[in-house]
């Protein structure tokens, strides 16, 4: 069975977007403009006698009451992508086609709505109801469908095998060639795609380069262009279509649970576990909301996944209700009988390990969870580095044997220190409003920077373990900067 593509062309998208934002513009002539070189030109226009590319001054002379807006390509592109996501409710494979079109791979999806004609009507009606004007064409070649959608007067469905005949009378502008090239081809008497197809390819390629042949081959299907879907298609998918739009939280919870149960059953059959899941909620007003969760270890425990989603479902804004919910497992790992991703001491049961993984998954949805990985460095703040909680920890020999503080300040506090001698042990420390008298002092422990590291040029440090008369045991540091007198002191941590 050949593939079937539905191309949608939305040339008035920028204007429809403005009219949806401000309904008072509905019956007034409207245009958007942008600066092209030295002059202001129309980008999209919606009034008799106006065409894109016209100068703004000319347009205003033709239509004195023309409403003008500056063009906003970024907003238009965002809207087009949003529409593409929303169109995924009809078929899972949807691509954005340049700046004004959508391409749907409708293979196998048309039967769900009762046939190709009904499918096209269902898609276009939903767009038109919401104030988007468009033309649609369905064909077995994506390029042909796109060309037809752009240049036909009404929606068309081309039976398989008749695409060449259908695009034969279309003007060359349907191929979206650069304007200069269309003008040059016109001077040679070539105005329609059919005429171009009958020309020998060699001279055309020599004269116009690869661009022309690429466009032609994509339209005729000799070299079809691969589709780049807005969202990659997931191996494991589940979908629920709601008869009535759902609004309430219990209804959403129920639907999510049903979706997850379905996905987990599919995962079990494939001996796989989910790592990332995305819930897509299609709202009735062409809006799609996505919620993604990740797990630390592959899982197919529906109850666990429901709990992970539970915290995030608050972000959904049902507004007028969701008409369709889909669940994609777009990242999965093999998961056989048991999991053993955590490094655990012997004797810990698999159930405990699974419970720990589930706990970490739940925590990671709301707070930062990490481990400290021991590093082989004598420089105090490099002795450990944050890592994910699933990283395997291997203790280097003799790691942690030096006396180090139980809390190491990320930003050391500058100290005002009174010492007996300029390079002697401290007698009194002051930081902020705290004044500490020194009872005992052990040190110095001199640390030199690692010459092979980035900070070889830093000054050496002399560390002192200080027992204060007030109680706290502090780890203070004197910088060995040459030519700095008196030396600078810092509080770097609290000792146990």
């Amino acid at each position: 069975m050949s593939r079937r593509y539905l191309a949608l062309s939305l040339p008035w998208l920028p204007l429809d977007r403005l009219r949806r934002l401000d309904p008072s513009l509905v019956d007034r002539p409207l245009a958007s403009w942008a600066i092209q070189g030295p002059r202001r030109q129309l980008v999209a226009a919606d009034a008799p006698g106006l065409v894109p590319g016209q100068a703004v001054a000319d347009a205003q002379a033709i239509q004195p009451d023309l409403v003008l807006f500056p063009a906003d390509p970024a907003q238009d592109a965002a809207l087009l992508e949003r529409l593409a996501l929303w169109t995924m409710r009809f078929t899972p494979l949807v691509a954005v086609d340049r700046t004004e079109g959508l391409l749907l791979d409708a293979t196998g999806a048309t039967a769900l709505l009762g046939g190709e004609e009904q499918f096209v009507v269902a898609v276009t009606n939903r767009f038109r109801q919401d104030g988007f004007r468009l033309r649609a064409a369905m064909a077995s070649i994506a390029g042909a469908a796109a060309a037809l959608a752009r240049e036909s007067r009404q929606d068309r469905i081309i039976p398989p095998g008749q695409e060449r005949d259908a695009i034969d009378p279309l003007p060359l502008i349907a191929l979206r060639l650069p304007p200069d090239m269309i003008r040059s081809l016109g001077r040679m008497g070539l105005h329609r795609i059919g005429q171009l197809c009958r020309q020998p390819r060699g001279p055309l390629t020599r004269r116009f380069g690869r661009v022309l042949m690429d466009a032609l081959d994509h339209a005729t299907g000799d070299r079809p262009q691969p589709m780049q879907p807005v969202r990659p298609i997931a191996t494991f998918q589940a979908a629920r279509h709601c008869l009535e739009p759902i609004v309430t939280r219990p209804a959403i919870d129920q639907a999510v649970e049903a979706l997850l149960t379905e996905i987990c059953r599919a995962l079990l059959e494939a001996s796989r576990g989910a790592r990332r899941l995305t819930l897509r909620a299609f709202r009735v007003d062409h809006h799609v909301q996505e919620i993604t969760i990740g797990t630390g270890a592959p899982t197919r425990d529906a109850a666990h996944l429901v709990r992970l989603f539970a915290g995030k479902l608050d972000q959904l804004e049902p507004d007028l209700g969701f008409e369709r919910l889909t669940m994609d497992a777009h990242s999965t790992d093999t998961l056989d009988g048991q999991q053993s991703s955590m490094a655990r001491r012997d004797g810990a049961s698999a159930a405990d390990t699974a419970a720990l993984t589930e706990l970490l998954d739940r925590l990671e949805q709301r707070v930062a969870v990490y481990r400290m990985l021991p590093m082989e460095s004598h420089w105090p703040e490099y002795a450990a580095a944050p890592a994910t909680p699933y990283d395997r920890i291997v203790l280097p020999p003799n790691w942690g044997n030096e006396t180090r503080p139980v809390r190491l300040l990320a930003e050391p506090l500058a100290l005002a220190v009174t010492a007996e001698l300029p390079d002697g042990t401290p007698v009194q420390l002051r930081y902020g409003s705290h004044l500490h008298r020194v009872l005992y002092c052990i040190g110095p422990e001199r640390l030199e920077p690692e010459w092979w590291g980035h900070d070889a040029a830093r000054p050496s440090r002399d560390y002192f373990r200080v027992q204060t008369a007030e109680g706290p045991r502090l780890w203070v540091c004197r910088l060995g900067e040459p030519n700095v007198l008196p030396p600078r002191w810092f509080l770097h941590g609290y000792l146990a």
């Binding site: 706990l359 707070v367 930062a368 942690g400 044997n401 139980v406 109680g471 609290y494």
Partner: protein, 217 residues
């Protein structure tokens, strides 16, 4: 007839079983050191319960929590609002291995309480520390119920100013440093409150590896 210690212990066990629900085995307590264990009514720090630690001095309070977590020999969670709340290289010598420690950083106090409750409810870990200065009785009660269900030990590490703010913890400690000319940590652990026991101040010395020696002055 004076009650014998064995009889009292037996009665306490039966009472605690009734409190927890019938037929459930009591969790073995976490041993600290012989002198302290003899003094505490559960013969150690009770599991499945909350313990309040007031930090008169930051290092000593962190040391207390590290020593307790190190004795669990299961993974443990340290839930704190700052990223630099605890430095694992210093905990190693107190007996808490870096491979057993998972750190959690929260932003809002409610998130910290939520994370603590999730941790105490999970059979995957043995205990958790929550560093917070926002704790009310309802939140503490929720944590207590969560800990009872699994037998996890919960430590609430709070600033010393919270001494006026009561909680339903089984024991309440105030940890401070004592001057010690040697390098070994030397602490004053004030047992301020102990359910079914006597409040006593303790002087504790910790030798490398987390072995404790305690005596009441």
């Amino acid at each position: 007839m004076p009650a014998s210690p064995a009889l009292l212990h037996d009665l306490r066990q039966r009472l605690s079983q009734i409190e927890r629900g019938l037929g459930e085995a009591a969790f073995p307590p976490v041993p600290l050191c012989p002198a302290l264990d003899r003094h505490l009514p559960e013969h150690g720090l009770a599991r499945g319960a909350l313990h309040d630690v007031l930090a008169a001095d930051p290092g000593a309070a962190l040391g207390f929590c590290a020593v307790v977590l190190g004795r669990l020999e299961t993974p443990a969670l340290w839930i704190a609002p700052e990223a630099d709340a605890v430095w694992p290289a210093g905990l190693q010598s107190l007996g808490l291995c870096i491979s057993q420690l998972i750190l959690v950083r929260y932003r809002r106090p409610a998130e910290g309480l939520w994370a603590m409750e999730e941790a105490l409810r999970s059979p995957g870990i043995g205990g958790a520390v929550l560093q917070t200065s926002h704790l009310d009785l309802i939140a503490a009660r929720r944590l207590q119920l969560a800990a009872e269900a699994t037998g996890n030990i919960g430590l609430l590490l709070r600033p010393a100013t919270e001494v006026r703010n009561p909680s339903n913890a089984v024991t309440r400690w105030q940890a401070a440093s004592l001057p010690n000319p040697q390098a070994a940590p030397h602490w004053q652990w004030n047992l301020l409150r102990s359910r079914g026991g006597q409040p006593t101040p303790w002087q504790v010395t910790c030798t490398p590896g987390g072995v404790l020696q305690a005596h009441a002055p």
